[in-house]
């Protein structure tokens, strides 16, 4: 990866400079704190910087969307988080938000409007697709030539919000061979992290969901398992380790795949 310093302005700085950025990058708790997901945040910022996108982050003013509390059943905590965040977002007159986390994406897009926070919310795979379509971002070189990539649909991007094509179109641009798992798009199997499962031990069963999903992915004989969700990344990475395939199969976010390609 290049050592160019990332340019990540905060809303506070923009406000002090008297300018309004075009879009807010909602980093999310995973993107801010989870070691693996932080790499996705950095990769996505590399793309934003490369395409000269006028963006900002909330930085220390950002707080958990409350999504995971809501799914766990704690509507109180969710609404407290949501109302606090909405106060800040509306205070900065945010109109457009992009995020790498499908759970934040779903929550901001579908559940915040009812509480007074209405924004145009975009998932980073959609944003990258748009950058490519408008010619602001070009993937050249042959980093992925001859590689097989399979895409694991995050539930909260796919089934929950009907976005199946953006990540696939982005992957097409890498000239890699895209191979589909038997269960994909509408019928994609969950990685096992949703609904607050990420934060607890699974119930008694005969297998872990992430292992089953990893088997789905490995049966396509991929070089890379791609996805678009920090939680899916964790679950699939663990699954690949469980199958002792970490030396031959990488688990990567779409942003990482594209960031590596444009850095060549």
């Amino acid at each position: 990866m290049s050592n160019d310093k990332l340019k990540v302005p905060t809303m506070e700085q923009c406000m002090a400079e008297g300018r309004q950025p075009e879009i807010l990058f909602w980093v999310g708790s995973a993107g801010s704190f989870d070691d693996r997901a932080k790499k996705i945040s950095r990769a996505f910022v590399k793309i934003l910087n490369k395409a000269n996108v006028d963006f900002a982050v909330l930085g220390t003013e950002e707080s958990c969307t409350g999504d995971v509390a809501k799914r766990a059943g704690n509507e109180f905590l969710f609404q407290m988080q949501a109302l606090m965040n909405i106060e800040i977002l509306n205070g900065y007159e945010i109109k457009k938000i992009v995020t790498c986390d499908p759970h934040s994406f779903n929550c901001l897009k579908n559940e915040y409007p009812g509480l007074g926070g209405t924004y145009e919310v975009i998932h980073h795979t959609q944003f990258i697709q748009n950058l490519m379509a408008s010619g602001k971002l070009n993937v050249t070189g042959s980093l992925y030539k001859g590689k097989r990539i399979t895409f694991h649909d995050p539930c909260y991007l796919g089934r929950a919000n009907n976005e199946y094509n953006a990540p696939r179109e982005v992957l097409q641009k890498t000239t890699a061979e895209i191979v589909e798992m038997k269960r994909h798009k509408r019928t994609a199997l969950c990685c096992g992290a949703g609904g607050a499962q990420m934060f607890k031990e699974p119930e008694k069963g005969d297998k872990d969901v992430n292992v089953l999903r990893t088997e789905d992915a490995l049966s396509t004989a991929p070089n890379i398992i791609a996805t678009g969700c920090p939680y899916c990344i964790t679950m699939m990475t663990d699954g690949v380790k469980n199958k002792e395939k970490e030396d031959t199969v990488k688990v990567m976010d779409i942003a990482e795949i594209i960031a590596a390609a444009i850095e060549q």
Partner: protein, 442 residues
């Protein structure tokens, strides 16, 4: 003497329909035990969903074999039931094949009914083989033991018998027409039953009349029986699929409702100008604080209860559930079946206690659905996506989780840790909010 059969017919018909109406009233009373929720948004989309999903069977054919066979039975059933109109008129007025005057169109109709009847028989036999010989996995899950399994087979037997009676009736009728029997109008085309008719070729006219009349009576009595069997069966979906697809969600699947009662409280909590010691406003309607989430069927809304009655126990949800696929106890189909069973129990309780529910010491949570099932859900929406009649088992799971967490503080320990992290430092992990931007420098 002749009028006797007409009167008997009228009595059976009125009893059959009367009993059916009674069941419909009971059904609607039970569904209304659920909380009120206004569903009147986006009517054009709702009508479109009903037309596509219920009438057009678009979700059935996602699984092509079952979908194709189901369409045969569905189309066959609807179309052959046109014949019931004629049967009712004939039965009441002692006529025979009253619509015969339609001529060629009538022949065409009867001919198509026969072909459909044969196709239905073939489909029903394949369905039976799938359930009992091949034993497709989703039909043999634990929640299918006992009545649900028998119900599934019973429906197939009834359909088989009704179709067989229809063809037998036509075969005998055809043979009588050939014999120039009085009263047996020469009408209809019998592409299928003519083969059965050849078996009757040595029978006397009076025996043929007995066969024809027996089949005719059993067919119509069978249909009336089936109509009243619906309420006790998963077969209720043939009626409820229509309202259920209409009232099903038209929002993105990921959208979970925000509880308004909570919004009020949270806003009050966060309002710095609110006086915490102020006397609560006098409002008789708010005497009993609202219960958060659901522990019993009355806490669910009426759409969720309609969902439960609509479920046809096909198990597509369960066969795609990540928790179920990995051996966990959760089965989305069982969530729906439990909800219906408990609702029936509550309904019977109300009937037995002159219209009021008397606490029976039971509830949906614990006595039917366990915590272990609820906590195994990944909220992935696979069950919702799969359901061919727009049921959401997930919405019931979510409401029951809400009860567990907000009324009972009964979340798994790890989730309590996660939630206190969010409360204390705005992230599900124990990191300081002030460190939120550190990822840039690393």
């Amino acid at each position: 003497m002749d009028y006797l059969s007409n009167i008997l017919f009228a009595i059976i018909l009125i009893a059959g329909i009367g009993f059916f109406i009674k069941n419909v009233l009971r059904l609607s009373r039970n569904i209304k035990l659920g909380k009120d929720v206004v569903v009147n948004d986006n009517k054009p989309q709702r009508l479109k969903n009903m037309a596509k999903i219920a009438l057009g069977q678009t979700k059935m054919v996602v699984r092509p074999i079952a979908g194709f066979l189901h369409i045969i039975v569905y189309v066959g059933f609807i179309i052959i039931n046109l014949e019931v109109l004629e049967i009712i008129i004939d039965g009441l007025f002692g006529t025979h094949r009253i619509f015969a005057f339609l001529g060629n169109s009538y022949n065409f109709l009867i001919g198509s009914f026969e072909i459909l009847a044969v196709l239905v028989i073939v489909a029903v036999v394949i369905f039976w083989i799938r359930r009992n010989i091949i034993r497709i996995k989703r039909f043999i899950k634990p929640e299918m033991n006992g009545w649900p399994k028998n119900d599934g087979n019973l429906i197939l037997y009834i359909e088989f018998v009704l179709m067989a009676l229809f063809l037998t009736m036509n075969a005998a009728d055809y043979q009588l027409q050939l014999l120039d029997a009085p009263h047996y109008t020469k009408a209809g085309a019998f592409p299928a039953s003519q083969f059965i008719a050849s078996l009757f070729s040595n029978m006397s006219m009076s025996s043929l009349i007995i066969v024809e009349r027996t089949a005719w009576w059993l067919h119509i009595v069978g249909i009336l029986f089936f109509l009243n069997y619906l309420y006790y069966s998963k077969h209720l979906h043939i009626l409820l699929a229509f309202p259920n697809t209409y009232y099903g969600s038209v929002e993105p699947k990921g959208k979970l409702n925000n509880l308004e009662a909570i919004t009020k409280e949270v806003k009050l909590m966060m309002d710095p100008s609110a006086d915490p010691y102020a006397a609560p406003e006098e409002n008789p309607e708010e005497d009993t604080p609202e219960k958060f989430g659901a522990s019993d069927v009355q806490d669910l809304n009426w759409v969720q209860l309609l969902n439960a009655y609509t479920c046809t126990e096909c198990g597509r949800c369960t066969s795609s559930c990540p928790a179920n696929l990995t051996g966990k106890k959760l089965s989305p189909r069982k969530i729906m079946m439990d909800t219906r069973d408990r609702l029936e129990e509550v309904g019977k309780n109300i009937d037995a206690n002159k219209g009021v529910f008397v606490d029976d010491g039971k509830q949906l949570l614990g006595d039917y659905i366990t915590k272990e099932e609820l906590w195994a859900c990944t909220t992935c929406n696979a069950c919702v996506e799969e359901c061919p009649v727009s049921i959401s088992p997930l919405s019931i799971i979510q409401d029951m989780r809400r009860y567990l967490v907000m009324e009972q503080s009964a979340a798994p320990v790890e989730l309590n840790n996660m939630m206190s992290n969010i409360e204390n430092n705005g992230a599900p992990w124990p990191y300081n909010q002030m460190d939120r931007l550190n990822w840039v420098e690393e």
